[in-house]
Symmetry: C2
Subunit: 459 residues, 2 copies
């Protein structure tokens, strides 16, 4: 987010070279707030404001700028200035930014960084997007078993300025395997001469580098953690994911799920609506719409094959929209509940029978209710439609009501089954929800509708 | 969640009275894990397992049980045991549980609690659901200005066992107005004789008791906070919301948003799918379905008024499902993007013109693409349908393609406008999305479709 409120004032401070006032402004507010204000300036103006700040404050504010602003600013900086900023950034944010830079710029900046930082960036940037490895930071604290609580606190004090959190410290063995952890609270409360090895907690919850980032975030949520240690294939500690990352991951995954429910393809990034171009929006939405429109052909063929019936009973066309909408709505409702319950791990794909049984009961109630509504509608307003002689309006009303009831039951069950099936096949359940589902239940709905009608009017 | 894996082993430990083994089991694992195992037992068995534990561990595990298990267990306990458990629970969880108890049980337990706890429960339970006040806890730490860093650390050590977090402490004036805060990290890093008043941060971010809980959680996310102070109408500090609460709030709000998008009414509680009865599911889904079905009547009347046209051009009925689905899909996509961008505060309702302009460009591209698909469909497969003599298939194809293109543009714009309008009227934008939208664009779509067709075939 950018905040343009103070842009004129900031510009004036920069142009008149009031460095002290600029510094006071940036250091008195939260870095996220400073980033909103500074991000509203041009890249060169932003740098004029940031360059005079204390390096730690500067990197903190810089980390809070939007991705685009970060890359734009880096592109106008000298190699040294760019390397200075990167050196002080949190390792996870730094690796993320690095991945966004053009190849040549990366090659240009890397040699200006210290070797440890180069390796850290290369390592963190190597994990696949969406994994726990790709969101972890390497700024964690390790403590030896044999320290006393007081010595441990002294150690934490020393490393505090460089570390993202000193509230949880890990105890590892020679192969960096996590033996336990202590919180700063444990250390403060313990006797000063208590050994870290004696007060550490050994019930360590951790994630593996290749785990899904959402699963890692859900662990932080479930166990109320400040930080979750991440280990590699050899069980060695390689990073931590912090509580604030968990909030961002869950928000991002949520945006993804909602967009998949609505069949919007492509990269799902939080905060993307405004900065995504119309053409990119078009591409991400068009793919599925065209696929679905092709599936819509099947609905068309079904209607076409019942054209004779439709011409005799135009009243059927009157109820086609209600049938299609109701099927789509009931199917989407059950699909949404199942997708959400799967995402929150309330249910697994093995609970199929239990879920179908519940959805069956719900759908019978809904089907009955809507059938009554439809029957009432036919009897009250159906008189205006042309019905061939010899066929009672009640017969048609009953056929339509029955078809609608059947449609509600089948689309509710299909709505529950599609995401469960996708989960079984290790696909994302959200992908088969809403629009895809609407298209499927349209097809089943039209078949049910015309077959029932044909059966009752005896054609 | 319940974990039945160890139920037989736990039962045996309880039946054979192996208290030490039970205690070791419950104290060695994370309280959330212990709660999953113990929650799978019957209420009286759970109590047999919990009663022998250290009161703090017991309350910690108890707080992690599901709401239902908590209320069931409390209902079989003596007044004294119930009061003992409540006394050691985190104040926010305790107030939430209290609200779930039947009136008479509350009246029964309250007198057994100390006065401070009674008042704390009454106060926390008094805030309206969904507000920052309803999710805050009263377990925070305040420090006087004049303490030194070392004295402050000593103070934190003393109160640590009773407090949810000692990592952030607040400095308040005589009227409890927040003057600043210090983190335990600040205190550890500071010189021992530094005054709290000199090292405290004065850029305090806080929420008001009546603020929306999601806004409060988003502040914790934006500013990477461990805890957010909550103040009352007189600016006095009355509670804090912690980082783990923020995760739960955001998960709950997201479930709510998704369910509203799919028109599922009622209380939106995380973790509810499995424990909600079929009848309750029926009620929460039926309301909107019936309302939407009534709106479907309008679509029916439109079709009815064009029955003559439909009987002559049965090919129009063939394209009705595709028209309705595409309108619903494109409208839902733009509505979803706008609802999400509003929820994440990327855009406000005042950005209407900017959003409409973007959606207009996107929809023109989508409309053109889908019109071409529809025209191709008519020319390729339309020959099988009955078309009156004197009307060229190409004319009908053009009319259908144009109608579909117009439908895409209008439904995309309506999809963006409805949630923006709702936000303007201070309603929840998610309420007017998906199913409600589908019904609206069905009506506009049918009007566009038949009017365009009528115009082109010159009837």
């Amino acid at each position: 987010m950018k905040n343009t409120l103070l842009v004129p004032e900031l510009r004036e401070l920069i142009e008149t070279g009031q460095i002290d006032a600029l510094r006071a402004f940036c250091e008195d507010v939260h870095p996220a707030t400073a980033a909103e204000m500074i991000g509203a300036l041009s890249p060169s103006e932003s740098w004029s404001a940031l360059r005079h700040l204390d390096p730690l404050v500067r990197s903190d504010i810089f980390s809070h700028l939007e991705d685009e602003t970060q890359t734009e600013m880096l592109s106008i900086l000298s190699r040294k200035d760019a390397a200075d900023i990167l050196a002080d950034m949190p390792p996870d944010d730094r690796a993320d930014l690095f991945k966004l830079l053009p190849e040549e710029r990366r090659e240009d900046i890397l040699p200006a960084l210290a070797q440890a930082e180069r390796e850290d960036i290369r390592r963190l940037a190597s994990y696949e997007e969406g994994t726990a490895g790709s969101v972890m930071t390497s700024d964690y604290v390790m403590l030896p078993l044999e320290l006393t609580a007081q010595q441990a606190i002294d150690r934490l004090r020393e490393v505090a300025p460089d570390r993202e959190t000193i509230y949880t410290a890990y105890i590892v063995d020679a192969k960096r395997r996590v033996q336990g952890f202590v919180s700063l609270k444990d250390l403060i409360v313990a006797r000063r001469d208590a050994r870290v090895g004696d007060i550490m907690h050994t019930d360590v919850i951790c994630a593996r580098v290749q785990d899904d980032q959402e699963d890692a975030a859900r662990k932080i949520q479930k166990y109320d953690l400040l930080a979750l240690p991440v280990v590699d294939a050899g069980d060695a500690l390689v990073g931590i994911i912090t509580h604030d990352d968990a909030l961002d991951i869950i928000t991002q995954e949520q945006t993804e799920d909602i967009e998949k429910l609505m069949a919007i393809a492509g990269a799902h990034e939080a905060g993307a609506y405004v900065k995504t171009s119309a053409w990119a929006h078009f591409k991400s939405r068009a793919v599925w719409l065209v696929i679905l429109a092709f599936f819509g052909l099947i609905s068309g063929f079904i209607v076409q094959s019942f054209e004779g019936l439709l011409q005799q009973f135009a009243i059927l066309a009157v109820f086609m929209p209600m049938l299609a909408d109701t099927g789509g709505n009931t199917g989407s409702q059950s699909a949404t509940l199942v997708v959400r319950a799967l995402a929150l791990k309330e249910i697994g794909s093995s609970d199929i029978m239990r879920i179908l049984w519940k959805e069956l009961r719900v759908s019978l109630l809904l089907g009955l209710l809507l059938a009554v509504v439809a029957f009432g509608r036919v009897m009250a307003f159906g008189g205006g439609s042309s019905v061939p002689e010899g066929v009672a309006l009640g017969t048609i009303g009953f056929a339509i009501a029955l078809a609608l009831g059947l449609q509600v039951v089948t689309s509710t069950l299909i709505g529950a089954l599609l995401p469960l099936g996708a989960a079984r096949l290790k696909l994302d359940p959200a992908l088969v929800a809403s629009p895809a589902l609407t298209t499927v239940v349209d097809i089943t709905g039209l078949l049910i509708f015309f077959s029932t009608a044909k059966f009752f009017v005896g054609l």
